[in-house]
Amino acid sequence: MISYVIKRLLWAIPTLLGVSILVFSMIHLAPGDPALLMLGEHANKESVDALREQMGLNKPLLEQYYLFVSNAVQGDFGISTLSGEPVIDEFLERFPATVELSIVALIFAIIIGLFAGIISAVKRYSLFDYVSMTTALAGVSMPVFWLGLMLIYFFSIELGWLPVSGRLGYEFDIDKVTGFYLIDSILMKDYEAFWNACKHLVLPALALGTIPMAIIARMTRASMIEVMKEDYVRTAKAKGCTQGQVILIHALKNALMPVITVIGLMVGTLFAGAILTETTFSWPGIGKWLINAVNQRDFPIIQSTTLIIATIFIVINLIVDLLYAVINPKIRLN
């Protein structure tokens, strides 16, 4: 097991280095002078020179890369060309909003996806199976931003049940302790703000969680059907276990293995989907911030966001792989 962990950890290092090279190269791959690109065609020579100096663009390429990586490791991602603020401060201010949205979306996806997948597998070819699997198929093909717009139209505009956009009503003011409004409002014992934050979260989380939910439902169903054919499930039934015991104790535990891997891989999908969902719902997370940065060619923001998200993605994949090896001895023995 230890050798597997070491091997897997070592394997992640070149990938991380590769991502850092790719992200670093961005600014140099763009056609034209990077400083001029960021400041615009009409920038004067002094500002362009100052930016070149500030970003170290006058230094040899290798030295620039070394500085980029060593600064990034220390959490220094440079200064935003637009706001003049350190990129990491702006990132950390917005990151909790994206994480909160992604976690709620993932919880929704796991609960509904697992439930629909298990029932569909157990009641195969029933009306529930057909309806849930058709919904899941539609969910996989659904553009997340369109689903978001439709949800806004029906639940916010037509029915008036939920807010159209944003993270919290203007009448509420929450002290940012963790940056997660659900937690911060509870810490402040402001339950009205908590309820308001919940209401703001419902539609974006529903939109963002639909594709992962559909994938989890389809995957769980397929995996459960496969496992239900196994001898040990037949033995459990023969022993006189109830259907609930067979499903929850014997089948589900084994059927969940591929599902766990898929859930791990979904973190990337969620972050990517968050970019589109945040734009639709004016959610003040890193997605919306990143798109503004792309439109304004604020490279330090684009570079840092890409590097941090890719690193999180790689680390989560690593954790999932290791967890998988703990659950499934076949992996580590191979």
């Binding site: 590769g18 056609p31 553009p143 139209y153 792309v294």
Partner: protein
């Protein structure tokens, strides 16, 4: 060959959902090709007197503009139909880029193995470690935001998936007897890869290309929605949805129809891909 095609068609027909997908795809192709015949309006010419007319079933709507008009008085049906042309073009160009580079990288990695394989597959791993839409955004931020660059970006994003698939197929094929026989006969590496090994690796590539077509349309619509792909007044479905955001309270038809078009295209190609997988390589589905 004729009997093989017939057999394929018979098998494909058995899968009802795949058949529905195929009908949707054929319908889209017809819409794209015959758009100028199917509608009398121009997708770009503005008519401000006809702003925000609702569809014919809504109050104030008429059969002159069946699906209503947008904020510049342009016919929605016309723009959705012409949008099919753009989306299918995006699919074709993006898949061609992914396919050509992915096949070359995968074939070279799988066939030569060793250091070549290690380097190529590391590059592939690095590309896969960045979520697809984020990588596409990064590439667009380098190239600049427009529709053609978005197609290139989506094409590049698809390369690693094709490379992985082709590599594993080549690895499975390269030590088979027919390849060894051809090598003994004096075939060069190039000839072996292109004419002997690759023709036997087409099945998973065809399935993946169909699935990736759906993803390409979806990603391109996403990029355009973010303002990083097609720019106004291009009748691209994602860009049309971005435009509809400000009219969400007043003109529901501007949100609904471009979205349905994207959804139908994506689900159509996904169903066809699923059906192809069933017919061409059922084992692939089990994997």
């Amino acid at each position: 060959m004729g009997s093989k095609a017939l057999e394929f068609y018979k098998q494909f027909k058995k899968n009802k959902t795949a058949l529905v997908g195929a009908y949707v795809v054929v319908f889209l192709i017809i819409c794209a090709i015959f758009a100028p015949i199917l509608t009398q309006y121009d997708p770009l010419i503005q008519n401000l007197d006809n702003r925000l007319i609702p569809p014919f079933w809504s109050k104030g709507g008429s059969f002159t503009h069946i699906l209503g008009t947008d904020d510049f008085g342009r016919d929605m049906l016309t723009r959705v139909l012409y949008g099919a042309r753009i989306s299918l073009t995006i699919g074709i160009i993006s898949v061609s880029i992914s396919l050509s580079f992915g096949v070359i990288m995968g074939a070279v990695a799988g066939y030569f193995g060793g250091l070549t394989d290690l380097i190529i597959m590391r590059v592939v791993d690095i590309m896969l470690s960045i979520p697809a839409i984020l990588l596409a955004i990064v590439i667009v931020s380098i190239l600049g935001a427009d529709l053609f660059n978005a197609m290139i970006a989506i094409g590049i994003v698809g390369i690693p998936t094709f490379a992985r698939i082709v590599r594993s197929s080549v690895l499975a094929e390269k030590n088979k007897e027919y390849v060894i026989a051809s090598r003994v006969n004096g075939s060069s590496d190039f000839r072996l890869i292109v004419f002997v090994v690759l023709p036997n690796c087409t099945t998973p590539v065809i399935v993946q290309a169909t699935m990736w077509f759906a993803s390409a349309v979806l990603e391109a619509a996403g990029l355009s929605f973010l303002g990083l792909g097609a720019q106004p007044p291009t009748p691209e479905w994602g860009a049309m949805l971005a435009d509809s955001l400000q009219f969400i309270t007043t003109a529901y038809w501007m949100i609904i129809f471009p979205g349905i078009a994207i959804f139908l295209t994506v689900i159509g190609f996904n169903l066809v891909g699923d059906g192809l997988m069933d017919v061409l390589d059922p084992k692939l589905k089990e994997k």
